[in-house]
């Protein structure tokens, strides 16, 4: 009884594994690219804000008001574009 019953479950298991692997590999690309697309939207603004924040902090500390704000705002903008560039690059790979 147990011998005759033994074979079908293994076949079924193989089938399930096959189906699963298909499902997972399909889903993988989908979820990855989707998350990355949504990442772009706020990314530039956040990097600019961080750059500006660091600039204001340094300027307040050393009392050199406009210099570091300008420098770090530009660096922040560059960081924002870098973020977006990275997202675009990783999307292209998929």
């Amino acid at each position: 009884m147990s011998d005759t019953n033994h074979k079908p479950p293994t076949d079924l298991k193989e089938k399930i594994d096959q189906a699963k692997s298909k499902y997972i590999s399909n889903k993988k690309n989908e979820t990855k690219s989707f998350g990355k697309v949504m990442k772009v939207v706020v990314e530039i603004v956040a990097a600019m804000a961080v750059g500006l924040g660091i600039g204001i902090l340094i300027d307040n500390y050393f009392e050199t008001r406009p210099i570091f704000i300008i420098v770090f705002f530009l660096l922040g903008s560059a960081a924002g574009i870098l973020n977006v560039f990275r997202v675009a690059k990783s999307l292209q790979k998929n």
Binding site: T31, M38, K39, V42, V50, L75, G80
Partner: protein, 246 residues
């Protein structure tokens, strides 16, 4: 001012104290925000206790729902982080469920949307950011600092690239928290504004009402989507910390 006008789209975001508590000069009152956090956690707790109370092979709806949400996050974590991410599953799963339920409870009229306050989402994002940074340093030692200096960059470009990379890294918690908060805030404000139009226009109010129904469907999508995005980005940051070389 706001009391004069019965249609006030911002009123829904006001925090009111339910039980004022002061400990050592610090205000830790139980507010409506806290109340709806409790509701969200109770909903999660209810879903899983009811869903998993009868562990049948052919699942009923509640069991199906809880198992599906488990599989969903488990797959996501495996796709993004790999097997090393398994240790962080409880945190990621709780995070997803909490934000998901907060967003959805906020869609019910007369409720409060916890995630529409920047301080709540920023607290999450800052915690995740700190945790991910600590995990990165624990797993990779000082070698984790390499993420600020990508390989293949000439040395004379380092003074430019390193600050840019640091700013890019620091912007992560801000973009993470602002995205969730802004989506919930904007969506709920627009819903209230169009509901106000419906009331003000009287008979002609059916036009914004139709729009409102469509918008509500969109908001439902956004509520789920933003919880998903918050979680998947947490996974991506975690992956960056565990595998800084890519």
């Amino acid at each position: 001012m706001a009391a004069d006008n019965p249609i006030d789209p911002i009123h829904q975001f006001e925090i009111s104290k339910i039980a004022p508590i002061q400990i050592g000069g610090v205000d830790i009152s139980f507010t409506n925000s806290s109340l709806f956090m409790v509701f969200a956690i109770s909903a999660v707790f209810l879903l899983f206790t009811l869903g998993l109370s009868k562990k049948s092979i052919i699942p009923n709806r509640m069991q199906m729902l809880s198992e599906m949400s488990y599989n969903f996050i488990a797959n996501m974590l495996r796709d993004q982080v790999g097997d090393q991410g398994r240790a962080y599953f409880p945190f990621i799963f709780s995070l997803f469920l909490f934000i998901f339920f907060c967003n959805f409870i906020g869609l019910i009229p007369y409720t409060f949307t916890v995630t529409s306050h920047l301080i709540v989402t920023f607290a999450f994002a800052a915690l995740i950011f700190l945790a991910v940074t600590i995990i990165g340093f624990v797993k990779n030692g000082l070698g984790y600092l390499r993420i600020f200096y990508p390989s293949g960059i000439p040395v004379y470009l380092a003074p430019l690239i390193v600050p840019i990379e640091i700013i890019s890294y620091l912007s992560k918690p801000i973009s993470l928290s602002v995205r969730l908060c802004a989506n919930m805030l904007a969506g709920h404000s627009i819903l209230k504004i169009f509901a106000g139009f419906t009331v003000m226009l009287g008979f002609l109010g059916f036009a914004p009402l139709v729009f409102l129904v469509v918008l509500y469907a969109l908001e439902t999508l956004i509520a789920a989507l933003q919880a998903y995005i918050f979680t998947i980005l947490t996974c991506i940051y975690l992956n960056d910390a565990l595998h800084p070389d890519h």
